[in-house]
C-alpha cells in the first residue's frame, strides 16, 4: 500500500548516506542513551490522563461534532450536497441488491435467482480468467448456499461490489494523476495515510449523522478504506512504466495524452488489476465493521452471534466471507495474469468463440429458470451443512479450551511479565520529551533532516491530543506484535518463497487470516488467553502476519536465478543459501514486509481495545459509544494516525537505506 513512497527518499538519502557501521554505532548509542535517561527520569512528565477526563482539545472536538449534529438539517451544504450523494449511492446499492439479493416488490426472490447468479458468475469468471477459476467460482457459490447464508452472502457481495465500483471510479483517475504528477502525489499521500490508518470506529458515528443509517453510510465507510489501495497501486503501476518508452512516443509525434492512452496505460494494466484485487480485499475486510451501522449481510450475522458468544455461528458466517474473498481474489488474480498472457493466447480462436456462445446460451437459460421456478430462485434447504460446521467449530474450540487452558495461561503470563510489562513500563514511565527526542534522533539517523522534522511534528501532535500516556501503552503492544509479525513473516516467507508446494498449502490460510473478521476469533482467543493485552497482540498477528509473509515470499521468489545458481555453484548448503544468498538479496522485501506488518498491526489497535488491551483502542471504542467521549475518541483516532505515520516513515527510511546499500 505504501509501496509508492518507498522510492522517494532515496535521492535525498544519497547525499547524507552515513556508512553502515556508523549507523550501527549511532543506533546502539541511541538505545543505550534512551534507556539510561528514561530510567533515570522515570515518572517525570509522563502526561497521564484519567479515562473519564477530557483535555480542552478533546472537549473542543466534542463541540464540533455537536455543532455538526445540530446543523445537519438546516445548513444548505448538508441539505443539497450531502443529500444528493446519499440518494444516488442508496439507489445504486439497492439496485444491485434488487438484482441479486433482496426480494423486490411482492416477489419472493430477487431479479436473478441463485441458479442464475451461480451460472452467470461462473461464465463471467471463464471469460475474464479461465476454466479452472470458473469451476472454483461455481463450487464456491454453491457452498455459500449450502452454508445456509445465500441471501446474506449476496447482500455482502452487493455492498462490496457497489463500494468497489465507486472506489475504482474515484481511485483510478486520481491514481493516474498521482502517477503522472509527483507534486499531486505528494499532496494526496497524507490523506491516504489518514484514510488507511484512522480507525473506522472514529468516523462511524459522524458518517451516520451525515448520510443517515442505511446502505449509503455503509458503502461510504467501506469506500474510505478501499480507495487508498486503488489509488496507490495505480500510481505505482504508472511509475513502473519506463520513462524512455513515453519519451519515444512523444518524440514520434504523439501528444502527452496519446502517450498516456497508447503507451503508459496498456503497460500499466497488469499492476492496475492487482490494485483492483487489493481494493476488493480492503472492502471485504470492512464487512463486519459496517454491520455496526446496519450494513446487511454476513457481517450482521457475525455481530449478532457475538452477543450470545455463539462461536459456531460466527465461524459459519466468517467462513462465508472467506469463501467470497477467495473467489474474488482468484478471479482477479487470474484475470491479471491473463492480461499479461493475452498476446500468447494459444487456444484456437474459433474453438474459443464456440465455447463462449455455448456458455452464453446456458447462462441465459439458467437466468430464465431462476426467474420462473422457485427452487432455482431461492436457495433450497436450510443450510444443514452450515449448522454441522457450526457445531464442529464449537466442539473443536471447547476441546482446545478444556485441554490447553493451562498451557495458554502460562504463555499469556510469560509473555506479559517477561516482555510486554517491561516495555510498557519503560515507555509509559519515561518523560515524554525523552521518548519524543529519541524518536526524532532515530529519524535523523535513518532518514536525515526532513524525516526528523516530520517526526517532531508527529510527536508534538500526539502530545497535543492529550493522550501521550495511552499512546505509549498502545505502542508497547504494537512493538511486541510487530516483532512477532516480522519474525513469522521471515520464517514462513522464506519457506513459501522457496517451495511452490508450501505456497499452494499456505495461500488459502493466509487469505483466510486477512479477511476472516477478527470478531470470529476474538471469543475463542478470549477463552484461551483471557481479556489481556496478549489476546490483542495475538489478534493483531493473525491479521498482520499474512501480509508480511506474502511480501517476504514474493521477495524470496523474486531473487534472480543467476544469483541462486551462483550460490549453488559455490557449494552453499540449504541453510547457507538462505542466510547468505536469498535473505540479503531480498532485503528490500524484508523492509517492506516489516513496514506493512506494522501498519496492519496498527489497524488492529481498536480490536485490541475490545479485548482488554486498553490504551488508544479502548478510547476509540468508548468514543463510538458515549456521547461525551466522542471528542476523546476522535483524539485517540488522531493519535493512532500520528503514531502510524511516525512508524511508517521511519521503517520506510530504513527500507530505502537498505536497498541503497545493496545497490552500491
Amino acid at each position: 500500500m505504501s509501496v509508492a513512497m518507498l522510492s522517494k527518499p532515496e535521492k535525498e538519502l544519497k547525499a547524507s548516506v552515513v556508512k553502515r557501521y556508523k549507523v550501527g554505532i549511532y543506533l546502539g548509542a541511541l538505545s543505550a542513551g534512551f534507556i539510561f535517561f528514561a530510567v533515570l527520569m522515570r515518572g517525570i512528565a509522563t502526561l497521564p490522563l484519567d479515562t473519564s477526563s477530557l483535555t480542552w482539545f478533546q472537549s473542543w472536538l466534542n463541540n464540533v461534532s455537536d455543532w455538526i449534529g445540530n446543523n445537519q438539517n438546516s445548513n444548505p451544504f448538508f441539505t443539497f450536497f450531502i443529500n444528493v450523494i446519499r440518494d444516488s449511492i442508496n439507489a445504486f446499492v439497492t439496485g444491485i441488491q434488487d438484482l441479486i439479493s433482496q426480494s423486490i416488490g411482492n416477489n419472493a426472490s430477487p431479479l436473478i435467482g441463485w441458479l442464475g447468479i451461480v451460472v452467470l458468475l461462473s461464465f463471467v469468471a471463464y471469460t475474464v480468467a479461465n476454466i479452472r477459476v470458473a469451476i472454483l467460482v461455481f463450487v464456491g457459490l454453491v457452498s455459500l448456499g449450502l452454508l445456509g447464508f445465500w441471501q446474506e452472502s449476496m447482500d455482502t457481495l452487493a455492498l462490496t461490489l457497489a463500494a468497489v465500483v465507486l472506489a475504482l471510479l474515484i481511485g483510478i483517475p486520481l491514481g493516474i494523476c498521482a502517477g503522472l504528477f509527483p507534486r499531486f502525489e505528494k499532496v494526496i499521500t497524507p490523506f491516504l495515510d489518514f484514510a488507511q490508518v484512522m480507525p473506522t470506529f472514529v468516523y462511524l458515528t459522524p458518517v451516520t449523522l451525515f448520510f443517515l443509517i442505511g446502505p449509503a453510510s455503509a458503502t461510504i465507510v467501506t469506500m474510505v478504506y478501499a480507495i487508498p489501495p486503488a489509488l496507490r497501486i495505480t500510481a505505482v503501476a504508472l511509475h513502473e512504466v519506463p520513462w524512455s518508452s513515453v519519451e519515444a512516443a512523444v518524440s514520434m509525434g504523439s501528444t502527452r495524452m496519446q502517450a498516456l492512452r497508447k503507451v503508459q496505460l496498456p503497460q500499466a494494466k497488469r499492476t492496475m488489476v492487482v490494485g483492483i484485487n487489493q481494493t476488493i480485499m480492503a472492502a471485504l475486510s470492512m464487512v463486519t465493521i459496517a454491520a455496526l451501522i446496519d450494513a446487511p449481510g454476513l457481517g450482521k450475522v457475525v455481530v449478532t452471534a457475538l452477543e450470545s458468544l455463539d462461536i459456531g455461528k460466527s465461524f459459519q458466517a466468517g467462513l462465508g466471507i472467506v469463501i467470497l474473498a477467495v473467489l474474488l481474489d482468484r478471479t482477479t488474480t487470474a484475470a491479471a495474469s491473463k492480461v499479461d498472457a493475452e498476446n500468447s493466447h494459444l487456444v484456437s480462436r474459433v474453438r474459443h468463440r464456440q465455447i463462449l456462445v455455448a456458455g452464453g446460451i446456458v447462462t441465459i437459460a439458467a437466468l430464465l429458470i431462476s426467474r420462473i421456478y422457485n427452487w432455482a430462485g431461492n436457495f433450497p434447504g436450510t443450510g444443514v451443512i452450515g449448522s454441522d460446521i457450526a457445531r464442529y467449530a464449537d466442539d473443536i474450540v471447547n476441546w482446545i479450551q478444556n485441554h490447553f487452558v493451562n498451557v495458554t495461561n502460562s504463555i499469556t503470563n510469560g509473555v506479559s511479565y517477561g516482555l510486554i510489562n517491561p516495555i510498557q513500563n519503560l515507555l509509559t514511565n519515561s518523560p515524554w520529551f525523552i521518548t519524543g527526542f529519541a524518536f526524532v534522533l532515530l529519524a535523523m539517523i535513518l532518514g536525515g533532516r526532513k524525516l526528523a522534522l516530520i517526526s517532531t511534528v508527529c510527536v508534538l501532535g500526539i502530545v497535543g491530543t492529550g493522550l501521550w500516556s495511552d499512546t505509549m501503552t498502545t505502542l508497547a503492544s504494537v512493538l511486541v506484535a510487530a516483532i512477532a509479525t516480522v519474525a513469522i513473516g521471515i520464517i514462513f516467507g522464506v519457506w513459501i518463497g522457496r517451495s511452490k508446494r508450501a505456497d499452494q498449502i499456505m495461500r488459502p490460510m493466509l487469505d483466510a487470516g486477512q479477511v476472516l473478521p477478527a470478531f470470529v476469533y476474538l471469543v475463542p482467543f478470549l477463552g484461551l488467553f483471557g481479556a489481556t493485552r496478549f489476546t490483542a497482540i495475538m489478534a493483531a498477528i493473525v491479521y498482520a502476519a499474512p501480509a508480511s509473509i506474502k511480501l517476504m515470499a514474493d521477495g524470496i521468489a523474486g531473487v534472480p536465478a543467476s544469483i541462486t545458481e551462483a550460490g549453488i555453484a559455490a557449494g552453499s548448503n540449504k541453510w547457507q543459501m538462505i542466510v547468505k544468498v536469498q535473505l540479503p538479496s531480498a532485503r528490500r522485501a524484508l523492509a517492506l514486509s516489516t513496514n506493512q506488518g506494522i501498519i496492519y498491526v496498527l489497524a488492529m489497535v481498536v480490536v485490541g481495545g475490545l479485548v482488554g488491551a486498553g490504551g488508544l483502542g479502548y478510547l476509540v471504542v468508548a468514543g463510538f459509544t458515549q456521547l461525551n467521549l466522542t471528542g476523546k475518541g476522535l483524539a485517540a483516532g488522531l493519535a493512532i494516525v500520528l503514531l502510524g505515520i511516525l512508524l511508517d516513515r521511519i521503517t520506510q527510511a530504513a527500507a530505502a537505506r537498505s536497498t541503497l546499500e545493496r545497490t552500491k
Partner: protein
C-alpha cells in the same frame, strides 16, 4: 488478438443485457400484500435481553397487526440519532442515557419516553460464585482490600484487577475504587463478550474474578454471579462523577419512541406503549435465544403461546 478480446467483451455484455431483459419480462408469482399497520423501524441494540424484547414485540407486530417490521442493528447512540431523521421508530430497552434523552426528548422533542418495560435493571459489582463459597465475607466491599491480592493478574500490576465491560454502559467504577480507597486497578476489557468470557473462565477454572455486571442478563442463568454490596445508593450520592463512593441506582428500563410515529395512529404504537413484562419473562426468552439457540420468531412464539392474556392486554383488547 485485440479483436478477440473486444469480441469477447461485446458478447458478454450482450448476453448479460439479454438475460436481464428476459428476467424483467418473466414475472414471478406475487404474494399477498401487507395490511394497514405499515412499516415499523425498530432499533436492535447488541445484547440478548434487548433481543428478547425485540423478538416478542416484532412477532406480535408481524402476526397480530400485519406490520412490516424493519430491524436495524445499531449501537445505542446511533439508534437515538435515527429519531430526528425518521429512520428509527422505537428503542425497546433503554438503559439511562440522560445525555441523549436531554438532547432528543427535551431539547429537540423528536422522541418520547414510553415508560417502563417492566424490567428492573441492576448494575453493580459481581464476583464468581465459587469464590463466595470459599470466602463468604467477600460480598461486602469493606473486605475487598483483604482479598485484593487474590485478584492480581498480568494486567493489573501490584493491585487486584477489576474488570469493566462494554464502554457504552455507565460506570463509576474508577471513582468508586479511588474514593473507597480500594487496592484495585480497573481493567477495561472493552466489550461484553470479553467480560462474559472472563467470568465464565474464572468460574470454570476456579480463578478469582471481580467485575462490573448487570441484570437482567442471560449469562446469569449459566453462571449465577454474586452481587457485592457497596455503600448504599442514596439520591444525589452519584451526582458528581468524581466523588462517587456509593452503589449504582436501580434502573427502571424504559422504551423510547419517535414522537412522529406515536402520533401516527398506527396500532403498533399502542403495542409499544402497553408493552411491559417481568425480568423472569425476559430471561426465559433470552435463554431460548442464547442458550437453546432458537431463532427470534421461534423463541417469541414459545413465550407468546404460554402468555396469551398478557399479549391481549398489550394489544389493548
Amino acid at each position: 488478438m485485440l479483436k478477440t478480446s473486444r469480441f469477447r467483451r461485446g458478447t458478454v455484455f450482450l448476453f448479460v443485457a439479454t438475460a436481464i431483459s428476459f428476467a424483467f419480462s418473466a414475472g414471478a408469482p406475487a404474494q399477498a400484500a401487507a395490511a394497514k399497520c405499515g412499516t415499523v423501524n425498530l432499533a436492535d441494540n447488541a445484547w440478548v435481553g434487548y433481543e428478547a424484547d425485540l423478538a416478542v414485540v416484532s412477532y406480535i407486530m408481524k402476526n397480530n397487526l400485519g406490520c412490516k417490521v424493519v430491524v436495524k442493528n445499531l449501537s445505542e447512540q446511533v439508534s437515538w440519532q435515527g429519531f430526528p431523521t425518521g429512520q428509527i421508530d422505537a428503542i425497546l430497552e433503554n438503559w439511562g442515557h440522560e445525555d441523549l434523552a436531554a438532547k432528543y426528548i427535551t431539547k429537540q422533542k423528536v422522541a418520547v419516553d414510553l415508560g417502563s418495560t417492566g424490567n428492573k435493571g441492576i448494575i453493580g459489582w459481581y464476583v464468581v460464585p465459587w469464590l463466595v463459597a470459599k470466602y463468604p465475607d467477600i460480598t461486602n466491599w469493606k473486605n475487598l482490600n483483604k482479598y485484593a491480592s487474590l485478584f492480581k493478574t498480568s494486567e493489573s500490576g501490584s493491585q487486584g484487577a477489576f474488570l469493566d465491560g462494554d464502554p457504552s454502559y455507565v460506570t463509576n467504577d474508577a471513582a468508586i475504587v479511588k474514593n473507597l480507597k480500594l487496592n484495585f486497578k480497573i481493567i477495561y476489557t472493552g466489550s461484553e463478550a470479553a467480560l462474559i468470557t472472563s467470568f465464565r473462565n474464572a468460574q470454570a477454572q476456579k480463578k478469582p474474578m471481580i467485575g462490573y455486571f448487570y441484570e437482567p442478563q442471560w449469562f446469569l442463568a449459566q453462571v449465577p454471579l454474586v452481587h457485592v454490596t457497596l455503600p448504599k445508593w442514596t439520591t444525589g450520592c452519584d451526582t458528581n462523577p468524581k466523588t462517587v463512593a456509593c452503589d449504582y441506582p436501580p434502573y427502571a428500563l424504559n422504551k423510547v419512541a419517535s414522537a412522529k410515529f406515536m402520533s401516527s395512529g398506527s396500532p403498533a404504537a399502542t403495542l409499544l406503549k402497553n408493552f411491559s413484562w417481568t425480568n423472569a419473562d425476559q430471561n426465559s426468552v433470552a435463554k431460548s435465544l442464547a442458550v437453546d439457540k432458537l431463532s427470534d420468531d421461534a423463541a417469541a412464539k414459545i413465550w407468546i403461546t404460554a402468555h396469551p392474556a398478557i399479549v391481549k392486554q398489550w394489544l389493548g383488547k
